[in-house]
């Protein structure tokens, strides 16, 4: 069975719940207060962002100090915000404390119960839930890391993650290899500025390991949409000669079928340029010039 293009691999079967009323209970890490913040609303069962946009007064926000956990009085305040009946408020408070414990234990950036249901017989049930785990927690939570289902992900993104690269596939035809997330985003933006479309976001990170460049090229060239490859490297910690060596090694093993434009500047730039020119590549030290050239080559190739 497929739902919205995703294949359903596992199904949880449970007793059908008679729904009297539906509420929303969620926790996120809030950037503004720098704390876990509860969001509760009696308007459950629908998208909470919709509620926040149209009727924000229906949501109660409660920041929690993680050094003390969720005290009962805060949980009860939220319980009474949802239910007048003290029994239901207590039951809801208990569920919220359990949700909070799970949120902290599983290293979540979001945990939500939607809907939290009151049945016609007055029972409180968490009918559906969702948790988003912070990637930075996975090293210390191997049991959770093991739950990752790679079959539902873009294969090239799985390949990249296993090679310690940050890669996101996009729809364009200029394949980008950049060091640093901010520069990688700015490079994509500049491709667009000059009339092209980026094929991906790819950050090879700060360390200068030629192996990373080899993996990056393999992943990018496996995308048939890519008509031109653009390297944009600003060498700080990254040594540009390592990147140049990576390009030479990778293209010797697997000759490129599409043109490549290389911009590199910074640490060991002179050595890098020599390595590249000795091997028949040319290199630019200007970002704008390189991006314009890559866009031209990609556009020319698709005509």
């Amino acid at each position: 069975m497929d739902i919205k293009g995703l294949t359903v691999e596992k199904v949880l079967v449970t007793v059908a719940a008679d729904i009297g009323s539906e509420a929303y209970v969620g926790i996120i890490v809030d950037r503004a207060t720098k704390k876990p913040v509860f969001m509760v609303s009696a308007a459950g069962g629908i998208d909470i962002e919709e509620v926040a946009a149209t009727t924000p007064e229906k949501i109660l926000y409660v920041p929690v100090d993680p050094r003390y956990g969720l005290p009962t009085y805060q949980a009860m305040r939220m319980g009474f915000f949802l239910y007048e009946d003290v029994k239901l408020a207590r039951a809801a408070a208990k569920i919220m404390q359990q949700l909070y414990a799970a949120f902290m234990a599983a290293g979540c950036s979001l945990a939500e119960i939607n809907p939290l249901v009151v049945t016609p017989s007055g029972e409180l049930l968490a009918v559906d839930g969702k948790m988003v785990i912070d990637d930075n927690e996975l090293d210390r939570l191997p049991a959770i890391a093991a739950l990752r289902d790679e079959s539902s992900e873009e294969p090239s993104e799985v390949d990249a993650r296993n090679a310690n690269l940050t890669f996101i596939k996009l729809d364009g035809n200029v394949g980008c290899v950049v060091n640093g997330a901010g520069l990688a985003m700015a490079t994509m933006d500049l491709v667009k500025y000059y009339g092209g479309e980026p094929a991906n976001f790819l950050d090879i990170g700060g360390s200068s390991n030629p192996e990373k460049v080899v993996n990056a090229l393999r992943i990018i060239t496996s995308d048939p949409n890519v008509k031109c490859i653009l390297f944009n490297i600003f060498g700080g910690i990254t040594r540009t000669d390592d990147v140049a060596n990576g390009i030479v090694t990778a293209t010797k093993a697997n000759p490129l079928k599409v043109p490549i434009v290389i911009r590199l500047t910074g640490t060991n730039e002179e050595i890098a340029v020599k390595i590249l020119t000795d091997n028949g590549f040319s290199a630019s030290s200007e970002m704008d010039e390189a991006v314009q050239r890559a866009v031209q080559l990609a556009t020319g190739a698709s005509n």
Partner: protein, 290 residues
């Protein structure tokens, strides 16, 4: 004059014997930073590069050397503890370079450091540099030169790109600060803008933001309300798809919030110059310094 770091910075390096820590400590010493101590538990009593004493704890380092600033290169699982240790030892400025610190750790570290009265920059940041005086972190010294432009950014290499353009155009920098790409960081844009506004050597400010969160929008309101010095802004991630984490944990568009378009609109509403490409900072800053 400068902000946060300068000639009086006396630095302790946490994780001085690690791969990154030792490499960058040498670079900082070479630049002229006063590196007075290092910390690696179990290596107390040893000496780094024949000149920097190593201590087991930050408390020992501060007691013996009077270090007032710390830089952290320890791996992510130990970074939260390292930040708290520095604050507890009385260090006033803590710069955490480490990338990959769990955000829930930061929800506990942040209030701890506030209560100790210290300032944290980062985590997941390139640090800060006051050209010609002191460099704390990993920003390459040779691309910087002293001058009147303050630089604050959520990114690393993108900052280098822009600082490089400034330096080549003869626009030196008062201080460059990388505040980091994580959702919870110790110092935000407004903290830096406020410090630049007060710094007599800073005449104009370059600010590089990213998609995700509302820090840039709040900074724009601050600029409109409180700042007399000109600020030029840039937002990376105009072509980023929603819902995906663009490398930095904080660079994610959630629902309709945190887009580049809304941030650029906030910049324009605040009367700021907006660079559409990194290279445009040069002209926009030159025009404002005339």
């Amino acid at each position: 004059m400068s902000i946060f770091i300068g000639k009086d910075t006396k630095l302790v390096v946490q994780g001085i014997t690690g791969r990154d820590g030792s490499f960058h400590t040498n670079q900082m010493i070479e630049y002229g930073t006063q590196v007075v101590a290092g910390v690696t538990p179990g290596k107390g009593g040893q000496t780094f590069a024949e000149r920097v004493p190593i201590y087991n704890t930050v408390h020992d380092a501060v007691q013996h050397t009077g270090a007032n600033t710390s830089v952290i290169y320890v791996p992510p699982p130990f970074a939260a503890d390292a930040m708290m240790e520095a604050a507890d030892a009385g260090v006033q400025l803590i710069i955490c370079i480490t990338e990959g610190v769990p955000v829930l750790d930061m929800t506990k570290v942040y209030p701890f450091i506030k209560e100790k009265g210290a300032r944290l920059i980062g985590p997941n940041c390139p640090g800060a540099i006051t050209p010609g005086e002191s460099k704390v972190g990993i920003i390459p010294g040779r691309i910087c030169t002293p001058g009147p432009v303050g630089v604050v950014s959520r990114s690393g290499t993108l900052t280098y790109e822009i600082v490089n353009h400034l330096t080549r155009a003869g626009l030196g920098q008062s201080t460059c600060v990388g505040i980091g790409g994580d959702p919870i960081n110790g110092t935000n844009f407004i903290d830096c803008l406020e410090a630049f506004e007060k710094d007599p050597n800073t005449k104009a400010v370059c600010m590089m933001g990213e998609i995700g969160g509302t820090d840039e929008q709040e900074a724009a309101e601050f600029i409109k309300r409180e700042m007399k010095k000109p600020v030029v802004g840039f937002i990376a991630g105009q072509t980023a798809p929603p819902g995906r984490r663009m490398g930095h944990a904080g660079a994610i568009i959630s629902g309709s919030a945190g887009t580049a378009a809304e941030k650029i609109e906030a910049f324009q509403a605040a009367g700021m110059g907006v660079a559409k490409r990194p290279v445009e900072f040069v002209e926009l800053i030159q025009a404002r310094l005339r």
